[in-house]
C-alpha cells in the first residue's frame, strides 16, 4: 500500500515536470514536428495516392508485399501511419525514456530519495512515468492519424466505425511496441547513469543492429535469432494485415518488457547510489 503511494507520488511529480525540462521539450518538439509534417502530407492527398495499385506495386518492390497489402486492405492513411510509427517508435521511445534512473544516479539525486522510499519504488516509478509519456504521445498521434483517415475517406466505401476500429487497433499496436523500448532504456539508463550516454548507447546500439541485419550476410536461423534480440524483429508481424500474427506480436512485446525490466532492475538494484 505504502509502495503504491510512493510510486504514485514519484510518477505524478515526474509527469508534472517532464515536458517542461529541456529533454522533455526536445522530445515533444521532435515528435510534433515529425508527425505534423507526416500528417500534413497524408491529409494533403498523399494518403489517397498510397491506396492505388501503382503505389502498391512500388511499395511491394521497395519494401515487402505485406506492407503493400496493408495499404490496399486498410485505410491508406492509417496503414502509412502504422508503417511510419513502427519505424520511428524506437527513436521516439528512446528519446522519451532515456532519462529514467540516469539523472537520479548521475547527479546522485537518488540520495535524497533512498532514505524515504525503496529502490524498487524508484525504479518502477521512473519506468511507469516514461511509459505514460510515450504512450500518451503515441495515443495522440494515433488519434490524429484516425481523424486524417476519416477525412481522407470522406464518403468512401469504408464505414466510419471500421476506420475508428482500425485506428484504435493500430494505435494500440504502436503503444505496445513502444513499451519494450522503454523497458530497454530502463536497463541502459541504469547502466550508464547519464542521459546523454544512455541515449547514445540506446540509439547507437539499435542502429548498429539494424545495419548489421541489413548489410551482414546473416541467413536462416542466425538471421532470425539476431533479428529477435530487439523487438524490431516483431515489426513484420505487426504490419501483417491479418489480425492473428499482429496480436501474437503484440503479446510477444510483453515478453521483451518483462525481460528488459528484469535486467534493468538487476542493474539498478545492485548499483552504488
Amino acid at each position: 500500500m505504502r509502495a503504491r503511494r510512493h510510486i504514485g507520488v514519484l510518477v505524478r511529480h515526474d509527469l508534472r515536470y517532464a515536458l517542461s525540462s529541456p529533454r522533455g521539450l526536445l522530445f515533444l518538439v521532435f515528435f510534433l514536428l515529425v508527425w505534423v509534417w507526416v500528417f500534413a502530407k497524408l491529409g494533403g492527398g498523399f494518403a489517397a495516392k498510397l491506396g492505388t495499385p501503382e503505389a502498391g506495386f512500388i511499395v511491394s518492390y521497395l519494401f515487402d508485399k505485406d506492407i503493400a497489402r496493408l495499404l490496399v486492405e486498410r485505410p491508406p492513411a492509417l496503414a502509412a501511419y502504422l508503417v511510419l510509427a513502427t519505424t520511428l517508435t524506437p527513436l521516439f521511445a528512446m528519446l522519451a525514456s532515456c532519462d529514467q534512473t540516469a539523472t537520479d544516479l548521475g547527479t546522485r539525486r537518488i540520495r535524497f530519495l533512498i532514505p524515504r522510499v525503496g529502490r524498487a519504488e524508484i525504479f518502477f516509478a521512473r519506468l511507469i512515468g516514461a511509459a505514460i509519456i510515450i504512450a500518451a504521445a503515441q495515443l495522440l498521434a494515433g488519434i490524429a492519424a484516425t481523424i486524417i483517415a476519416l477525412v481522407v475517406n470522406g464518403d468512401g466505401d469504408t464505414s466510419t466505425a471500421t476506420i475508428i476500429g482500425y485506428g484504435a487497433q493500430m494505435t494500440a499496436f504502436v503503444v505496445l511496441y513502444s513499451m519494450p523500448i522503454v523497458a530497454l532504456m530502463s536497463l541502459v539508463s541504469a547502466a550508464m547513469a547519464s542521459v546523454g550516454l544512455a541515449l547514445l548507447v540506446g540509439v547507437g546500439g539499435y542502429a548498429i543492429l539494424a545495419l548489421a541485419l541489413t548489410w551482414l550476410p546473416f541467413t536462416g536461423t542466425l538471421a532470425t535469432v539476431v533479428s529477435f534480440l530487439v523487438p524490431s524483429g516483431l515489426k513484420p508481424y505487426l504490419l501483417r494485415p491479418e489480425l492473428g500474427p499482429a496480436l501474437a506480436a503484440s503479446a510477444a512485446t510483453l515478453a521483451y518488457v518483462a525481460l528488459y525490466t528484469f535486467l534493468g532492475w538487476q542493474v539498478f538494484r545492485t548499483r552504488d547510489a
Binding site: H6, V9, T103, T107, I110
Partner: protein, 314 residues
C-alpha cells in the same frame, strides 16, 4: 538497561577496487547529544555515511541503524541525510521538490507543501521557494539540502559537511538551528571544521584510513587546563624541547610538523595557581630562547588533538 544504539556496526568494511575505504569498523553510537565524525580527507567519513544510508553496500561486516539494516522500509523517514554531493532536479522549484520528499514521508499533498515552506523558513530561504536550483547559489543549495533533513521528524540526522561553503553568518545560523533541534533528534556531523564539531558535539569519532582511531567524549579528548598551545612566528628550534622540559611541572613538549609553526606544552596542573606559574615560566623560557609567538591558548583544541592523532607516523 542501556538504550539500544542508534548505529551499530561490527567488522564493517567497504572496498573500492583495491582501496580499503572502511576497515573493520566496530562502533556503537548512542542517541542523545550530537556526535562528530572527523578525520583527514580519505578517512572514510562519507563512505561510512553512505553505508549507513544504504547508498553503498558493505563489503564485509554488518551494520544496523535504529535496529534495522540500511534500506529496511521501517527506516523510511526516520533517518535523514545531508549528502555531500547530491543535486536537486534542474528546472523544478525547490519548494515542489521538498514537498515531494515530504509526501514520500507520508504527508498529504497540502501538508507536504506546508512542511516544505516550514523547513525553507528554518534555513532562512522562504523567499527562494519558487526558484529552481540553477537560480540559487552554492550556499543556498546547501541550505536547501539541509532543509530536507528537517522534513518530518527523523530520529537520526546525518550531516556531511553542513557548514562547508556557507558564509560565517549563515554557518552560525545553521549551527544555532542544529543546537535548537538536538534535543529532539540525534545528529551525526561529519566535518573538517573541527571548531564546529567541538562547539556542537558531545562526543567524537575520529576516523583515519578507514579505521576508528578514537571514539570519546569531546571533553575527554581536549585537555582544557593542562596544556598550552602556541602558534609561533616560525618553526621552533629542536633545542626548545629540552629548555621547556626543564620547567617545573612540564611533562611533555610537542613540536608541530615542519611548517605548522606550532608547539604544545603539557604540564601537571596541581591547582591553586600552579598552572599560572607554569604558564609564566614557559613564556619566560620561550622569550629567553627568542621564539616569537603569535597566539597562546590555554588548553588544546579538538583540531590540535585530531591532527596529533591522525598524523602520519614518520
Amino acid at each position: 538497561m542501556a538504550a539500544a544504539p542508534i548505529v551499530k556496526t561490527q567488522g564493517l568494511g567497504r572496498d573500492f577496487a583495491k582501496t580499503r575505504a572502511l576497515d573493520s569498523i566496530d562502533l556503537e553510537l548512542a542517541a542523545g547529544a550530537p556526535i562528530g565524525l572527523v578525520g583527514p580527507n580519505g578517512a572514510g567519513k562519507t563512505t561510512f555515511f553512505s553505508v549507513l544510508c544504504g547508498f553503498l553496500r558493505p563489503t564485509r561486516g554488518s551494520v544496523e541503524v535504529l535496529g534495522r539494516p540500511p534500506l529496511h522500509r521501517d527506516l523510511h523517514g526516520r533517518v535523514a541525510i545531508l549528502p555531500q554531493d547530491a543535486a536537486f532536479a534542474r528546472g523544478v522549484p525547490v519548494q515542489s521538490q521538498l514537498a515531494m520528499l515530504a509526501e514520500l514521508q507520508g504527508f498529504s499533498a497540502k501538508a507536504a507543501r506546508e512542511e516544505a515552506a516550514r523547513v525553507l523558513k528554518m534555513v532562512l530561504l522562504a523567499d527562494a521557494a519558487r526558484k529552481s536550483p540553477e537560480m540559487l547559489s552554492h550556499g543556498m543549495l546547501k541550505r536547501i539540502a539541509i532543509a530536507q533533513t528537517f522534513l518530518g521528524a527523523p530520529e537520526l540526522v546525518l550531516l556531511d559537511e553542513p557548514t562547508a561553503g556557507l558564509d560565517p553568518a549563515t554557518a552560525s545560523e545553521m549551527k544555532n538551528l542544529i543546537r535548537s533541534l538536538d534535543k529532539e533528534r540525534t545528529f551525526v556531523i561529519s566535518s573538517h571544521n573541527l571548531q564546529d564539531v567541538e562547539e556542537l558535539c558531545g562526543s567524537v569519532v575520529i576516523l583515519d584510513h578507514g579505521k576508528i582511531v578514537e571514539h570519546r567524549k569531546v571533553s575527554e579528548l581536549v585537555a582544557r587546563t593542562s596544556v598550552l598551545t602556541f602558534r609561533l612566528e616560525a618553526d621552533p628550534p629542536e633545542a626548545i624541547v629540552a629548555k621547556l622540559s626543564a620547567v617545573a611541572l612540564v611533562t611533555r613538549v610537542e613540536l608541530g610538523r615542519p611548517g605548522e609553526r606550532r608547539l604544545a606544552v603539557h604540564f601537571r596542573d596541581e591547582g591553586e595557581g600552579g598552572g599560572n606559574k607554569t604558564q609564566i615560566a614557559v613564556l619566560q623560557a620561550l622569550t629567553a630562547a627568542g621564539v616569537g609567538m603569535i597566539e597562546m591558548t590555554r588548553g588544546q583544541s579538538l583540531q590540535d588533538k585530531v591532527i596529533e592523532m591522525t598524523r602520519p607516523s614518520t
